[in-house]
């Protein structure tokens, strides 16, 4: 088969195909258009969770919440509220309430005794005076 014949064959077959495309009836064209619209719509419906309009408020609220938590944890108030090394706050309470003689408790008690001793002396006149 010569190159010229081959080219002529290709040109003719292409022209015939294009002619058949151009002569598609109106009903089929309309069905194709409907199919296209349905495809675009179906793709849009499935990807609703990817739409920015839906994600905008959700992402905003989540970001605000994360930021709030980060700020709370980072603040001194947040640090006080946290429990270090798995210790319970009840242990702190026990230390304060404990009557076992720690240095601080005894010192506080000593201060009070001195005060009451001074007050007692000030209230009653010195018998030697």
């Amino acid at each position: 088969m010569s190159e010229q014949h081959r080219d002529a064959f290709e040109t003719r077959s292409r022209a015939l195909f294009q002619d058949s495309v151009d002569n598609l009836d109106f009903a089929m064209r309309s069905r194709l258009t409907q199919a296209r619209h349905a495809a675009i719509e179906a793709a849009g419906r499935r990807a609703w969770y990817l739409r920015w309009t839906i994600w905008t408020p959700a992402v905003g609220v989540t970001a605000a919440a994360v930021l709030g938590v980060a700020l709370w944890v980072g603040s001194p108030l947040g640090q006080h509220a946290t429990v270090a090394d798995g210790q319970s706050n009840f242990e702190d309470l026990e230390l304060v309430a404990s009557s076992e003689g720690s240095g601080d408790t005894m010192e506080m008690l000593q201060d009070d005794i001195d005060f009451y001793d001074f007050a007692d002396k000030a209230a009653s006149p010195d018998p030697a005076a």
């Binding site: 088969m1 064959f9 003719r12 015939l16 294009q18 058949s20 495809a39 793709a43 920015w52 930021l67």
Partner: protein, 206 residues
């Protein structure tokens, strides 16, 4: 020093300024995609019709290919859409042909009237002659196209695919190779064999 509320306000302002741009971009490529589909849908339909010999089946595979393209590949560069679309379309055509083959095999084993599944959905009105007088030239063209379609159906699938994509769709070798998921050398071989076989079947006078 900025307060947490200032930081939040700034974040919202940045987001509000970005959101319309993103929405605009999505809308833009949806529009572009629809334009692309409108441009190729008729040729794609005719190619599917040539391969499947059934308008409804052809319409189904074209619509399926459209949906798959828009769902899975819409975000790809538009230059990739055409080979991707035709690859999806050809896969759909082959799946349908396989299902038909299985159905035919099952039908031969079942009792009852034998029906050709290819013709079962045929509308009897399609065979009624058109009232308008046919122009001889148009008739000859229609007949020539019919012969070409029959010859194309007789080709191996890969040769038919290469011929339709190169000749009917006007794709170059590289694009056809991407659509067929093979090398450019294979495309050239398939195409050359297809042209040779078609010329032999149709004769020199066609």
């Amino acid at each position: 020093m900025s307060t947490p509320m200032d930081t939040l306000n700034t974040a919202w302002m940045v987001w509000d300024s970005l959101a319309p741009a993103v929405k605009g971009a999505v809308l833009e490529y949806t529009r572009e995609l629809e334009k692309f589909l409108a441009e190729i849908e008729r040729r794609a339909f005719r190619m599917a019709q040539v391969a499947l010999r059934d308008s409804d089946d052809a319409l189904d595979v074209v619509q399926d290919a459209m949906i798959k393209l828009t769902r899975n590949y819409a975000s790809r560069p538009s230059a990739e859409w055409r080979p991707l679309f035709y690859r999806i379309l050809e896969n759909g055509i082959r799946d349908l042909q396989r299902r038909r083959t299985v159905r035919k095999r099952v039908m031969t084993w079942l009792p009852g009237p034998k029906e050709d599944p290819d013709n079962e959905a045929q509308d009897p009105l399609e065979n009624v002659a058109d009232a308008a007088p046919a122009i001889p030239e148009k008739l000859m063209q229609a007949e020539a196209m019919q012969r070409l379609e029959e010859s194309l159906r007789a080709l191996p699938a890969r040769q038919r695919e290469a011929f339709m994509l190169r000749n009917f769709e006007g794709m170059d070798v590289a694009e056809t190779a991407r659509a067929m998921a093979c090398s450019e050398g294979s495309v050239k071989t398939h195409y050359s064999r297809a042209v040779h076989a078609l010329r032999e079947q149709l004769g020199e006078v066609w």
